[in-house]
Amino acid sequence: MKKVFLEGAISPEFIADSIAKHQGKHSIGAHNIFLGQVRADVVGDQKVVAIEYTTYEEMANEKLHEIREAAFEKFDLTCLHIYHSLGTVKVGEICIFVFVSSPRRKQVYEATEWLVNKVKEEVPIFGKEILDNADHQWKVNS
């Protein structure tokens, strides 16, 4: 089982290091990356300052495994990586990193979009939006 969940924000260094790790894979001709960043949504007279992510980890890992397998069936990919934060991620920080690699360009755009949609729709991840007055509300993907 590939490790998806990381504690806290996904750092730019982690992302750079992931790119560097692919330089030895010479069948790859195209990478595509999606990065989701926590946005300071306005809620009434308050603003979101962070999201605290939790998951149903056993089910999430099973679902992510199915999604990975389906992606390799559907698209011509050399490799793919999905990382998602757990715990607190502040506004402006990265909470999801999807990294798709293929011999050629066309497939990576479609695969990235498909993967991000699947993660949002099917993986049991929950987000508590912390507001600047310390109240909170539960995020719902729209």
Binding site: T55, Y56, P124, W138, N141
Partner: protein
């Protein structure tokens, strides 16, 4: 014993992430009625997973000992 896992706003209402019900077996509908009487869960939007697979709340499904039930509020990943 049936394990029920709670997440998000439902975990807040139950004041717990998980509990073990001292029940041998019951229908999914009966289980949801029981949880509603304890935590008023029907005011929340949620899906149900049994043994980590989503099932319909209306489904006639017998929950037996050692099953793992989870109440899942709307997903918010990404």
């Amino acid at each position: 014993m049936i394990t029920v896992n709670y997440f998000g706003n439902i975990a807040e209402a139950a004041q717990s992430d998980s509990e073990i019900l001292d029940q041998k077996s019951l229908d999914l509908g009966e289980l949801l009625d029981l949880l509603d009487s304890k935590y008023d869960i029907r005011k929340f939007q949620f899906q149900v997973a049994v043994n980590r697979k989503i099932v319909s709340k209306q489904q006639t499904l017998s929950i037996s000992e050692d099953d793992e039930v989870a109440l899942l509020p709307p997903f918010a990943g990404g």
